[in-house]
């Protein structure tokens, strides 16, 4: 599961109407955008009962591509704002991206000063 690539895809499955919480948290912590899709959620009833998790059928999925270095920060922020213990009941996973095209690199203040200097 070792991933040496630059980007990661964060997939957040939340209850319908909670995508704003996810996007706000992600934007504040370094992500720059996301794609939202409507989905139908189905959970294994035995496991849901055993682990005390309710999977509602009306779901929305947010796909966010982030740089690997900010992934943990973004995931933590989303977990705090829309995680399993909140109204959004979010399930978060991240998948490695092997190649990405069309994403402009983030120019941080440090890099800016390096370039100018």
């Amino acid at each position: 599961m070792e991933n040496n690539q630059q980007y990661e895809l964060i997939v957040t499955i939340v209850n319908k109407g909670a995508t704003d919480l996810v996007m706000n948290a992600a934007n504040k912590s370094g992500a720059r955008g996301g794609t939202i899709s409507v989905a139908r959620g189905t959970g294994n009833p035995e496991l849901a009962k055993h682990y005390g998790i309710v999977v509602q059928p009306e779901k929305e999925i947010v796909f966010i591509v982030v740089q690997k270095e900010v992934k943990d920060r973004v995931m933590k922020a989303i977990y705090e704002e829309a995680g399993i213990g909140t109204q959004g009941q979010g399930i978060l996973i991240s998948l490695p991206i092997t190649d990405a095209v069309g994403l402009t690199p983030v120019i941080t203040e440090e890099k800016k000063t390096e370039k100018e200097g």
Partner: protein, 147 residues
Amino acid sequence: MPIFKRNLKKNDHEIPQAEIKPFEQREKLQPLYAFFTIINREQANYYIHAYEEAGVAVTMVLYAHSQPPQEILSIIGPENTKKEILISIVRKDDMEKLKKIASERFKISKTSKGIAFACPIDSVGGISVYKFLADHNREIRGENHGK
């Protein structure tokens, strides 16, 4: 008496604080995969139930359209462009069962044809979510799905 007090203080400092280790260091983690299945509309229910029996905790169904080239579209017909995308979270040791379920179903007829693939999951947000997705207590319960 003063010596006793000094000794007590010294001993207090020497008591090692209980070290709290992160979950991933305390427990053996199961690698997780996102298993994608792309199939024709109204085929999802079979897969959802079969995957659940194989040990999958969560499956998401997304609705989509395929856009084949014109020459292929004329063969398959426009009604077969409506698709469903299933995203199931599965433990690595259950993945072979899912692959078998999907590949056997794809062979049944032309309309049940689809594609399936798996991507490794790098991280999961929250211990309770991980436990649910990976069915962390399965070994303790002594269950063995689909075997």
